[in-house]
Subunit: 288 residues, 2 copies
């Protein structure tokens, strides 16, 4: 029997019937069903489908060691945030809210000692970020690994501007102390545009969407026996908190980066006075 | 308000509300709706979504001047055939059935004179392919352009085996004569596997799908004032006519490549005797 619009899903789903892994079979069945649904609904012409194929190809070809354009595409379509949200529902219990990984976790963060600065270059408003990692009942999580990365005060990550920042600038991997506490120095990050020099940027331009994300510091916090949390702390008052290009803002993750005038603390921690300070406690859910 | 599973489609669709081109807005709205539907239905974990992103990236990176892995992915998901089928419904009227373009139309077919052979290398079973291009009422279409390409008797296109075939082998661009007729010499094509050395091949292996396509010759036939037809002629009796890896078989496109014992004709056309012969008439629908 010839392939037809009415039977297309059945024909293609049947071709996946012998898939040994039941989860893969389930996912492919769902993909075919929804992909054909999209095509029947939007009814692309052959020329439009060719454009779509060319667009997806260009996204793949834009990727390299330091650039992940497919994550960016997933991000601007809200797909990353939806997957993240569903994972949190499934796993997180009373943990700190999670949000998207984003495309810039492409370099291993250098291990640093508590109190170190992750900002290795001049410029930017100095700040102190402190917090405590605990279980939902308040039990501290000593040795929790706290992986942080952020843009500089111009809104760029190290990998975007290799001439201006050494690799590892704005990144750090810390271990919480015996009481689950951590602190490190940095600069207040800036809001910034996601990279617009690729196919995703062309899509944003064509749809008159702005490319900006509100200022934030990325965190992945993990410890043996706990579900890892991938999240951000957002800077209160930053532009674009209401229209993040990747839909990642959660109100519970916004923190004041409050001005502090305290010469003793500044001196002890190696900060100029005054400086700014944010507190970000992280709650991890035990596994199982 | 935080992003949530229940409101994700609304939030992301709203971000496309200012898209100036109404067709692009419509397509993006449909894409977001169905993509989120797929994610809510299949509920990928973050790790699974990361695998999916890596898979799409690898597809894009496999593409080059002579390889189009995203078309192949669209083909094995039946997406290409569905788009083709919908386009034909919209445009084709009483024209010859269309089928998929496939990933091998990546080299311009060399212009050849009627009667030329498109097979430039030794091997294979010689054949004659003839036909007539007409409107639905039988009016001939003089000068119709007939672009053909095919695999050799081992199942390879020129671009796949540059050491064994010169570029242009198995390809030809012909102009129909004053009566709309064409003929050219070739070899009977073989059934063959689509390329399996990329991500799409990995998918087929993981899902225990075979990669084979039944033997066929690709055609694009076009003429001023008519809707172009992209199609194949399939070789009757070929394996895989019932399970084409890309769902492209239509019964109306299957033709006997019948043995002919006719020394005079063979001698006149430059063929050995006996040879095989297929007739494939093409009906084009006038535009508008």
């Amino acid at each position: 029997m010839d392939f037809s619009e009415a039977d297309s899903v059945d024909a293609v789903v049947a071709s996946f019937a012998d898939t040994p892994d039941p989860r893969l079979r389930e996912v492919m069945t769902s993909l075919v069903t929804h992909l054909h649904g999209f095509l029947r609904d939007s009814r692309p012409s052959l020329a439009e489908w060719e454009t779509a194929i060319g667009f997806l190809t260009a996204i793949g070809q834009k990727c390299d060691e330091h650039r992940q354009e497919f994550i960016l595409f997933s991000d601007v379509l809200g797909a990353s945030m939806l997957v993240e949200t569903m994972e949190a529902e499934r796993q997180a219990g009373d943990a700190t809210s999670s949000t998207v990984l984003g495309p810039f976790h492409v370099v291993a963060s250098p291990e640093r000692a508590l109190g170190d600065s992750i900002s290795l270059v001049d410029g930017g408003e100095p700040c102190l970020i402190t917090g405590r990692v605990t279980a939902p009942d308040g039990t501290p999580v000593p040795g929790a690994r706290i992986d942080v990365w952020q843009a500089d005060e111009k809104g760029f990550y190290d990998v975007q501007v290799p001439d201006a920042q050494p690799l590892g600038n704005g990144r750090g991997l810390f271990a919480a102390d015996d009481d689950g506490r951590y602190h490190f120095r940095s600069i207040v990050p800036a809001h910034y545009p996601i990279p617009t020099d690729g196919p995703v940027g062309q899509l944003l331009t064509a749809t008159k969407r702005h490319p900006y994300r509100p200022a934030h510091v990325h965190f992945i916090v993990e410890a043996e026996g706990y579900v890892p949390v991938t999240t951000h702390v957002f800077v209160a008052g930053s532009p674009y908190l209401d229209s993040d290009a990747v839909f990642a803002v959660k109100q519970a993750l916004v923190r004041d980066f409050a001005p502090v005038d305290d010469a003793d603390t500044a001196d002890r921690l190696g900060l100029p006075n005054p400086f700014r300070r944010a507190e970000f406690d992280v709650v991890l859910q035990p596994t199982g």
